[in-house]
Amino acid sequence: MIQFENVGFRYKRGPEVLQNVDLEIPAGSFQFITGASGAGKSSLLRMLYLDAEPSSGRISLFGRDVTTLTRDEIAWFRRRIGVVFQDFRLLDHLSAAENVALPLTVAGVRESAYRDNVTEMLHWVGLGDKMDVRPPELSGGEKQRVAIARAVVASPDIILADEPTGSVDPAMAERIMALFVEMNRLGKTVLVASHDLAMIEQHKLPINTLQGGTVVVGTPKKRRSA
């Protein structure tokens, strides 16, 4: 499903952010990516949602080399990938419900067909009473929940979440993680980037740690003892 082979990445004229990254995330698995702030977690996810290309090595996604995709194919691949962005990327001129519905709208689904689905998603993240509110009038945690609802509403094959619990209280964080677990149980591949080790350790799931620009595979315990 997702395969990194000796991947290197750098921003234009910047230093190498990632190098020699080998990573395999089989379909249906749930994995974490952790690492200190600035370790390159967000950059790694960016390549996966096709907003950046590796500067060396090869990333294969749904069996395709990501550098060979046309612009239309990139759009179609993105419909199979739900993303919770670290900075949410909500549209301020649309209501919370319209933001959640965006992946369905751009895929040409009619409003009558997705209305119940979107309403249910917003209720699930506890924003049933904020459907018509625009993002500028939402708190950080509420924005994050809108972003999460948007990421999963179209039932994508892969869910990428960048610090999805960064702006919510522990109770909501637990609910959000439970949602991802539920999605994973339904067969979706989930990849969560987070620097919150305490939260990660509660789940007995594979952890990929980014350190010095590359992936150190192992549990936090192993890492600590090293």
Partner: protein, 301 residues
């Protein structure tokens, strides 16, 4: 905003009428003004082009197929020379008929130039022969002249070619200028839309990025702009051409333009032409908007 009553109607729709892209009302107004002005000018260019084409055709058609031969001779020699000329002409390929004008005919021809009824006795009135040419096979004037000279008939052949050519060339020049003017106004509409869309896309950068990241194809983004600019273009065209048509209908000074365009008097023509111009303006704006979006998105990568 929303009150926390929990009684929001279950049937409320999610997609409001609000656009996915937050267009600025002011840029729409500017667009409307530009397209309306251009459509107004385009109507005059189009009318000019059609009118001159028609005028040129009238002039050339009206004079085509005719020629005259002037026979200079003294009174006593005139009849002999005219019959000699008639024999030569009737024997020339491409000439259907040749007929000597009577003094009365000549007097009628000259009346507009001299005023009143000219007394031909005071002028050495030349003999005039009216020649009807085969419109599909007009003879070469130099060949006809050579034949007349060969018989020393003292006759001058004139197929009005020089005047015909000059008039037609002038009409064609004005006509092609009008077509150019029409083309330029169309190009100006397209260019203005392209520019406005490109500027709008910079302002909407974040929105477009969010749409793309949610899985929107380039053509989905293009459609959002196309739709808006089709309506703006169409509305601008409606206003601009409406004003131009009102001017055609109302201004006496434009009566001659109207006279040259008899189709304007056909009752079905006005709404048809109007609708055509409106759709054309909308269509041009749509295509320019699409081109601008596709170009910008490709360029951004």
């Amino acid at each position: 905003m929303t009150t926390d009553t929990g009684t929001a109607p279950a049937t409320s729709t999610i997609r409001s009428k609000g656009a996915l892209i937050p267009f600025q009302a002011s840029s729409g107004g500017v667009m409307l003004l530009i397209v309306a002005a251009m459509a107004f000018l385009a109507c005059f260019a189009l009318a000019g082009a059609l009118a001159t084409t028609r005028i040129a055709a009238t002039w050339t058609d009206g004079l085509a197929g005719q020629a005259t031969v002037r026979v200079d001779a003294t009174e006593d020699d005139r009849a002999r020379r005219i019959s000699l000329v008639l024999d030569i002409l009737r024997d020339t390929e491409g000439i259907v008929d040749a007929r000597a004008l009577s003094e009365r005919d000549v007097a009628d021809l000259l009346t507009p130039w001299f005023g009143g009824t000219p007394d031909l006795g005071e002028l050495p009135a030349p003999g005039i022969v009216a020649v009807t040419l085969d419109p599909l096979d007009e003879p070469d004037p130099s060949v006809v002249q050579a034949r007349l000279d060969g018989a020393s008939a003292g006759a001058i052949y004139d197929d009005h070619g020089r005047w015909r050519n000059r008039a037609a060339r002038a009409a064609r020049a004005i006509g092609s200028l009008s077509w150019w003017a029409l083309g330029l106004t169309i190009a100006a509409i397209a260019g203005a839309v392209f520019l406005v869309v490109s500027i709008a896309m910079s302002a909407h950068r974040g929105t477009i990025e969010a749409l793309r990241l949610s899985g929107a194809e380039d053509r989905f983004v293009a459609n959002l702009y196309q739709k808006r600019f089709f309506w703006l273009g169409g509305l601008g065209g409606l206003i601009g051409s409406g004003l131009a048509f009102a001017a055609f209908a109302g201004l006496d000074a434009l009566a001659s333009v109207r006279a040259a365009l008899p189709m304007l008097d056909a009752p079905y023509y006005w709404p048809l032409a109007w609708a055509g111009i409106v759709i054309a303006c909308g269509g041009i704006a749509l295509l320019a908007a699409r081109l601008a979006v596709m170009t910008t998105l490709r360029h951004r990568g």
